[in-house]
């Protein structure tokens, strides 16, 4: 059996989680008995694949080892940005569950969850600047924080296209870039820049991370169709039921029979109607077609690896591609 991703890359999830905990534990303004502390701690302990910090740390291997600690700063900041965005996304999507546990707003309340997400961003930026020169590192953190506008535009896009049967493949890919791929690209390039990698390498690593990000999101969207609620830790088919049309639906709309079924859906459609469409999509070829497109993006990432021929970090990029191609 294949080792988990972090082990293949000689990284410890325990160390990453310790870093994430350290960010709140080192905040002098935060009491450990507070709801805020326990909420953030709970989010961290809920776990996750930690793909973003892993990517930042791999990106950091393309710079110098003397600056390796700065890749850890990027890793912590980006994971906090990601976790904060998930807290807000769960409210926007009205998702009561996250990884099989109550989402934060369901466990507390909406206002608490919104401000907790905001605190996480502010604290991570503050932490990323502690003990460092403001002229260098805070700016890098600020540049990453500026990406939030793009993540938001991806979300606005999703909201505006709910139950939009005219959504195109290009629109889906644009939204996917903004919501997911851009941040993954930034993980690779920011890790590299923080450790002093040259600009050309950082740009290539951005392209690599972005391509993997699209492949990852397509596969994640597929899980909504192919996995059970138990496997997902949240209700299956949730995207379709909320009118968030992902790649399988876009392909299904090209088929006259599936399109006729899909056109019956609306926000008030019955569970039976949604289940009928989910079943029809599963029986069709659109799942395979979607997988093929994800593979094309993973192959694109693979082609970028060639630029790092002979570099010791090249193997780590191959490991990442293999993981995303699984």
């Amino acid at each position: 059996m294949k080792k988990p991703l972090h082990e293949q890359l000689q990284l410890s999830l325990g160390e990453i989680n310790e870093l994430l905990l350290h960010i709140i534990q080192s905040d002098d303004e935060l009491q450990r008995s507070s709801l805020l502390y326990t909420s953030v701690e709970r989010l961290i302990m809920a776990g996750g694949k930690r793909l973003r910090p892993i990517m930042a740390l791999v990106g950091g291997r393309f710079g110098t080892s003397e600056r390796a600690h700065l890749a850890w700063k990027v890793a912590g900041l980006l994971e906090y940005m990601h976790m904060a965005s998930l807290v807000h996304d769960d409210i926007i999507d009205d998702s009561p569950l996250r990884r099989g546990e109550q989402s934060l707003h369901a466990a507390t309340d909406i206002s608490t969850a919104v401000h907790t997400g905001n605190y996480m961003l502010a604290r991570a930026l503050e932490w990323s600047n502690e003990d460092e020169l403001i002229d260098e590192d805070f700016y890098m953190g600020a540049e990453l924080a500026a990406l939030i506008t793009e993540l938001c535009v991806g979300e606005y896009d999703q909201l505006q296209h709910r139950f939009d049967f005219n959504i195109t493949l290009d629109q889906y890919l644009e939204k996917t870039k903004r919501k997911t791929a851009l941040l993954m690209g930034a993980c690779m390039s920011a890790g590299a820049r923080a450790t002093g990698a040259d600009e050309a390498a950082a740009n290539q690593l951005y392209e690599f991370g972005e391509a993997l990000g699209i492949a990852f999101q397509i596969q994640d969207d597929l899980l909504d169709f192919t996995s059970s609620s138990d496997q997902l830790g949240k209700p299956s088919g949730a995207d379709l039921r909320s009118g968030n049309f992902t790649l399988p639906v876009i392909y299904a709309l090209e088929d006259e029979d599936l399109k006729a079924l899909l056109l019956q859906l609306h926000s008030g459609a019955s569970d039976e109607q949604f289940n009928e469409v989910l079943e029809a999509i599963l029986q069709s070829n659109v799942i395979d077609r979607s997988r093929q497109l994800a593979e094309q993006y993973a192959i694109k990432a693979k082609s970028i690896i060639e630029h790092f021929e002979g570099h010791p970090g090249q193997h780590d990029l191959q490991v990442l591609v293999s993981y995303f191609l699984k």
Binding site: S111, V114, R123, E143, A146, I148, L151, V153, Y156, D157
Partner: protein, 144 residues
């Protein structure tokens, strides 16, 4: 002239804000006018005044969007959360693109403090006063 600084800054921001967000800022805020008056009194380039005022406006409106959440209307709730997130993200984008990064080291602690206060249930009434003080300090230090 001072009124123009506020209006010009609003125009700049409304142009920078992505059309898809449908966010439109307005100038009907007395505390922002006071900030504009203070920033306008410094002897710095007008483009810098606009950048500093832009960031103040964004943080002020961004905070307000998250403090007035209408939880009974899911669409409006989603919009308010996104609007607040977007406007705060834009602070970083504006400050970086207009070379005013040091200002962020003043704004980030204020933003964090607001979250801590909000989580304790207190309102953020004094925050505009604090923002004004921080901006004054910043301009005193970096306006030479």
């Amino acid at each position: 002239m001072k009124k123009d600084l506020l209006q010009d800054t609003l125009d700049l921001l409304n142009e920078l804000i992505h059309k898809q967000t449908n966010i439109e800022l307005d100038a009907n805020d007395r505390s922002l006018q006071e900030l504009a008056d203070m920033i306008g009194s410094y002897c710095i380039a007008r483009s810098r005044k606009m950048t500093v005022l832009s960031c103040c406006m964004l943080i002020s409106v961004g905070i307000r969007k998250h403090n007035k959440l209408l939880t009974s209307d899911t669409d409006r709730l989603a919009r308010s959360i996104l609007d607040g997130d977007y406007l705060v993200g834009l602070i970083y984008r504006v400050a970086i693109s207009r070379k005013e990064q040091k200002l962020l080291a003043k704004l980030n602690p204020i933003y964090k403090k607001v979250q801590l206060q909000s989580l304790l249930g207190s309102d953020n009434e004094g925050i505009m006063i604090e923002l004004k003080q921080e901006i004054k300090q910043y301009l005193d230090q970096y306006s030479a």
